[in-house]
Symmetry: C2
Subunit: 367 residues, 2 copies
């Protein structure tokens, strides 16, 4: 009895299922309800029309059997081949910017019963490539990507497969993908101009990896206001708090240290601030950072930032993607969401009168 089963058609299947406690299928439900399998499908998806009486019978049967719809089988057969899944490639699921974006996308998707797959590229093109490929293999209905900028070929491949893609936070050269970005240049330029107006001339710029589109944009914004800052005050390729700290320490040791810092990114801002604070300079040297971070307001002085709204970014990306899923088929669209300058103090510090403030002056208590 346990060894082998007769070769008969359905008998084998049902026996095996019963034996192995396999999942209960539409056929089981159909049998119990005494209807055709097609009817069960119609009831489950409540599509087509079926007599209320039968609906009740089917639902009853499904309930007693503990039937669970199988989404994979469904999407395999379904005409549109939809899986009800969108995939999200972030830089790092755990950083605040990414995760706020994640949340916004997730919410927009959930509203339509769509699930979100996600992964972290860690700024690595290979990893991005892997993720995009896995996601397309999983037949995600659409892709939202924060592109590293060096795996565009893979994104294009996904596009050619007919999967809609929207690039978020960073522009991408392909003309088949929607993008939603932030006005990086404008925001940085505005913050820079503000420092200029406060009398700052020696303004240091600390930026992220130049492979990152936003980093380049922000830097451009900076140079548009300070076209001839000495190269010694410019550091790029900074991608961690530690790197930023080292660089900041180095600049402060200069004979003519900067009177203000502009940071192109979160972690850099924190690194600079930490060094400033360690040296007791946080009230003497101005600091403005791109991208807000939690608790920036609790520090004293508060850290002024050019805030972007990752949730808005995510929501807009989701909107674009969902419209594609709804069949919209126009040319690529490019949304730009505005930044907002938040004055908290650190960006409102005036330049000291002299080019290089005397040490004594520097150490004076801030208030």
């Amino acid at each position: 009895m346990t060894a082998s089963f007769p070769k008969g058609r359905t008998v084998t299947g049902e026996r095996r299922r019963a034996e192995a406690r396999q999942s209960v299928t539409m056929r089981d439900v159909a049998n119990l309800a005494g209807v055709g399998i097609a009817t069960v499908s119609r009831v489950v998806n409540n599509t087509g029309s079926v007599t209320p009486e039968l609906v009740e019978k089917v639902q009853e049967a499904a309930r007693t059997l503990g039937y669970r719809h199988d989404a994979t089988a469904s999407s395999l057969r379904r005409a549109d081949r939809r899986t009800g899944t969108v995939a999200l490639v972030l830089e790092d699921v755990s950083n605040p910017f990414s995760s706020a974006l994640h949340r916004a996308v997730s919410d927009a998707a959930a509203e339509r019963g769509i699930l979100v797959l996600s992964g972290s590229s860690d700024e690595s093109p290979e990893r991005e490539r892997e993720l995009v490929e896995t996601f397309t293999a999983r037949r995600a209905d659409g892709l939202i990507v924060v592109p590293t900028g060096r795996a565009d070929a893979t994104i294009e491949a996904a596009r050619r497969l007919g999967i809609p893609v929207v690039a978020v936070d960073r522009m991408v050269r392909l003309d088949s993908v929607d993008t939603v970005t932030v006005d990086n240049q404008e925001g940085t330029a505005r913050a820079a101009a503000r420092l200029r107006d406060l009398g700052h001339r020696r303004v240091a710029y600390f930026g992220d990896l130049a492979t990152i589109w936003t980093a380049r944009e922000r830097f451009t914004g900076f140079t548009s206001v300070f076209p001839d800052v000495p190269p010694a005050l410019i550091r790029r390729e900074l991608h961690s708090i530690d790197a930023a700290e080292d660089a900041a320490r180095a600049l402060l040791a200069l004979p003519e240290p900067p009177t203000a810092f502009i940071s192109g990114q979160n972690l850099i801002t924190i690194g600079i601030r930490r060094v400033l604070q360690d040296s007791g300079l946080e009230r003497r040297i101005a600091l403005t950072g791109f991208d807000d971070f939690p608790l920036a307001d609790l520090l004293s002085p508060g850290v002024s930032v050019i805030a972007q709204d990752p949730a808005a970014l995510g929501a807009e990306a989701a909107r674009l993607l969902l419209s594609r899923l709804d069949g919209h088929n126009g040319p690529a669209r490019h949304s730009v969401v505005p930044t907002r300058y938040i004055a908290r103090g650190s960006g409102e510090i005036r330049a000291a009168a002299g080019e290089a403030p005397a040490a004594a002056e520097v150490r004076a208590p801030g208030r």
Copy 2:
């Protein structure tokens, strides 16, 4: 020619596919390579053994045709029915604790080529239920859940379907699920004892919703050290920064305000600190929070915390889940990962000599 197709077997399929630019299947590859479809499958999964020569031919064909493996069809037919997906139900994808956990799980999964589906329950049992049900419909191979504690029935249902579940951060009453939690009681008790040893007697406790297991545990830890703190100093059901701020303000207005606060959670800690800081009391009244948060060290004084390690939590949860996927079938296991007290200053403030410091004394400049 465009209207209808002859009824012949393969012809129809191929024509249609060509016409509609459908995805290319194994059959297409098999045809081009001049092999059987089974061989293509073997090559793609590199299982079984097939002549190097044929492998080459198949890969060549796959390449020229741009063949993409279809994971949904694959998992449908596959004997183990694996989808290569685990699902993660968090409280909120975008909060630092959740997202760090997310990241750890994601990394462990990625190592095995497993993808992660995620969703936010927002502490709502209905939402948790929905998520778990959707995930099981999607046939996720396993589930990692931060349970609200009020949707256990659904979790049990998933378990009965044979899907391994691990509950993380919070205990769950079911004996079919592995759990990994933090030593909430012990950690809180230790921090409380420390305050007691610094002379504090009027210690306020601010806790999260009592429906949350961790909140109850932490509170228990607190009362074990301060069994008879006046009820006025105890606030629970706090779940946002704002709520914590209001409560903190109210307590400070008391004739006998507390000399120390213990916070059961991140946002509460921040709320308390903000109020303390607004009142210039951050150096007079002690504050210890459960769960670390970024920049806690940059404030001054730094905020002392009972730190948990969400990444470790996630990694352990992933480990437990993956072992189940690998076939481990023992009874439920319960991991407890330790907390760590981080002294940064705010938790090291001594109690003032008098029971209720005079107003003048309180307002004196901190330094």
